[in-house]
Assembly symmetry: C2
Homo-oligomer: 438 residues x 2
């Protein structure tokens, strides 16, 4: 990695503000993390991609830690398996369909239950091959009405996982493990969320739960959430499911007695007990060891990476600036620190270079262009958690000012790297408050 110098970086910050969506969606555009490609389509810039990669690596580590096996299914698929499952032409009118040059019907997969059955079918034959958990992190496509930036789009990156068990107790256990893995991911990245009972909708199956993040403004997306504000309690209800009318702001949480609060909500993840919904329709069975065949019990799990990115921004930014939570895991901010030289003298510039090198160059943004005022404004807009200022304090006392969420402290040059280390995203599985678990 050659290091990130502001003069080399393509960061398309802009004063233009898009007309719709939440304030955070607009800030992501203004800060140059994403750029619109027409209704419901977005590109991610180099800085935005860094946030995506940090979030993706966290969820990949969580899946690997519970024995998930990463695969890659095609996004473009033929109709046959969708006809078998009964979802062809029935995906809430949100499935993109097209024909290939030979006139065969195809679709852009909005979900991969059919694909996973096809991947496993005929190869997974015995109860001894189960349980099995496969996952991918790929684009999904839905012809949805575009709303609120990255929250409701026509193409989006999701980590989607699919489990296969021989019986219902097995499914319950796998479901519990994936649900707990998602909790660890969302806790680590610093999202506030509730886990609410939900309708299975187009996925089908017996039961499902959504991870819904409270936000002040869902940008026109109408999920209404009532959730418990007590630390660690995940109780919540939404108006998509029965029971939300029974609770309101100020009521006591039926689970822990804490205070309930009403707000908009954004669904960031969804876990489904599909049961035999797909194994019945598509004839996916295993032998049980006693000579009989049995339809497998499946689960389906999805966590929206792009959605998570924006929802974090919605919960933590203010009207003028993005902000990314800092936890024991670290931060999803595009860079752990910005180094801002104040002045053009070689003494200051050399120290700024040295700090850039010491701190992990590929994750630290060195400001070597723009005016001093623009440097501070942009670093603030991006939500970079630490700003290392090399200027008068250095000239006078040989120390630098490090500005973080806890205030400004003066540090020796050689102490900066360790100080900003905590703003990096940890690698692998990491549990806030209890150290690494893998």
């Amino acid at each position: 990695m050659v290091g990130v110098r502001r003069s080399d970086l393509f960061l398309p910050a802009t004063r233009e503000t898009p007309g719709s969506g939440s304030n955070a969606a607009k800030l992501l555009v203004r800060a140059g993390l994403i750029r619109n490609f027409g209704s419901g389509l977005w590109a991610v810039t180099p800085a935005g991609q860094r946030v995506r990669e940090k979030l993706t690596e966290r969820v990949v580590a969580a899946m690997d830690a519970i024995g998930g096996q990463r695969v890659r299914l095609p996004g473009l698929q033929y109709a046959d398996r969708w006809r078998e499952s009964g979802r062809w032409g029935g995906f809430e009118d949100e499935m993109f369909t097209l024909e290939n040059r030979d006139g065969q019907a195809m679709c852009l997969a909005p979900s991969h239950e059919e694909g996973v059955v096809h991947l496993l079918d005929g190869r997974v034959r015995s109860h001894a091959d189960l349980p099995l958990l496969v996952y991918q992190v790929e684009s999904k496509f839905r012809d949805d009405h575009a709303r609120n930036g990255l929250v409701r789009t026509k193409e989006f990156t999701m980590q989607d996982a699919y489990s296969v068990d021989v019986d219902e107790p097995g499914l319950r256990e796998t479901y519990r493990e994936v649900r707990a893995a998602y909790e660890r991911v969302l806790d680590d990245v610093g999202l506030e969320y509730a886990i609410v009972e939900a309708d299975a909708g187009v996925m089908g199956g017996a039961a499902s739960e959504e991870f819904v993040a409270p936000v002040s403004d869902a940008g026109g997306d109408s999920d209404r959430l009532v959730h418990c504000t007590a630390d660690g309690c995940r109780f919540g209800v939404t108006d998509e499911h029965d029971g939300s009318d029974a609770h309101a702001t100020g009521d006591a949480c039926p689970e822990c007695g804490g205070d309930l609060a009403a707000s908009d909500g954004i669904e960031v993840a969804h876990v489904f007990k599909l049961g035999t919904r797909y194994s019945e329709a598509m004839g996916f069975t295993v032998d049980t060891g006693d000579g009989s065949e049995r339809r497998v019990e499946m689960g389906s799990y999805g966590l929206g990476v792009d959605r998570l990115l924006q929802t974090l921004a919605q919960q933590h930014g203010d009207s003028d600036s993005l902000a990314w939570p800092v936890t024991g895991w670290g931060s999803a901010a595009p860079y752990r620190a910005a180094v801002i030289p104040v002045g053009e003298d070689s003494e200051v510039l050399n120290v700024a270079e040295r700090i850039h090198n010491d701190c992990g160059r590929d994750d630290v943004l060195l400001y070597d262009d723009l005016s001093v005022g623009e440097r501070f404004a942009e670093s603030d807009l991006l939500g970079i958690p630490a700003t290392v200022v090399v200027g008068n304090t250095y000239r006078e006392n040989g120390v630098v000012d490090v500005e973080t969420e806890t205030g400004t402290e003066e540090l020796a040059v050689e102490a900066v790297a360790e100080c900003v280390e905590r703003f990096a995203a940890s690698e692998g599985e990491h549990r806030v408050g209890s150290g690494a678990t893998d």
Copy 2:
């Protein structure tokens, strides 16, 4: 990572052989690395995904090392920019098109010249913002006639890069850097290839070169290559471009005097000097600092990750087994080693477990099911470069047999990890024969 035990792994090896394509394409299916999803569409299994990730990480490191900035553009796009460039409806009839729910024309992007212009347009305004190199590693879509497994498909993963320079000398320099980066990648992973002048075709522009790998059987894909077999010489010509008739097997290489050989060839990468082909059509200019505006000079570069995977397999496997080259960089094999216990006694099983732990559990496959014969056969079929056998030699002498391409050696248990380390894929930029360069 919980480690790879054969009993947990979904590896859909099969005795069925698909009807078409090269022998290596069939072996990839038989070994369970990929599975067909209908004409031109493939899924990648957990073991196949590991190979893909090793190759992807290598090419990402190469792009980062020359200052490439990773982005992500949508695969689904509206027609407007394609109409501007003049490629809507003209992409050799290979562009998938569809309509969204509002009747707007869309396509699945087969390439991203238009997307990159849209990403940069209006944000890159000055010569001081250049040069710029952005890249992504994402799915591309082409409604091609499916042939030869992963080589010619309708959806494929490509690392595609796009450069923007202020003038032609700048483009020449950037082109040279990306071309050299691709050489380093292909050298590291152990591909044999020639660099041949090519027609720019649907990309347009002034000049282009292809990286073409000689193979004995292109599986019905008809590129005919004549290339120099001398070490380090990259001379070659194909029948897609003028001049291939002028050379034949046995002729002397016009560049180095070495022996030429004719064979089938597979294009694994392509680099294009686009010049102002897109900046003219789409009005992408920068100010030059003297008050005038100038159309930017662009380059476009693509390396097919899935194609590279299969082409490596074609060059190195035999009729019965896959094989992955071992270089100073390491190997793209799905696992650096297989640990095969011979016997069921706890002494043998415990040592196998210990070696599995010592060697990097997530990259070493521990055989804990199948018969002993099946273990050896499968490890061989997968092309795993080192087989660690724990059996009689251990019981008698306390050492294990490590079988590699250089033969079998007896090693103390604690020496195995270091021995198999060289079969792992190195992280970051690594130059065969000259150590790390970043």
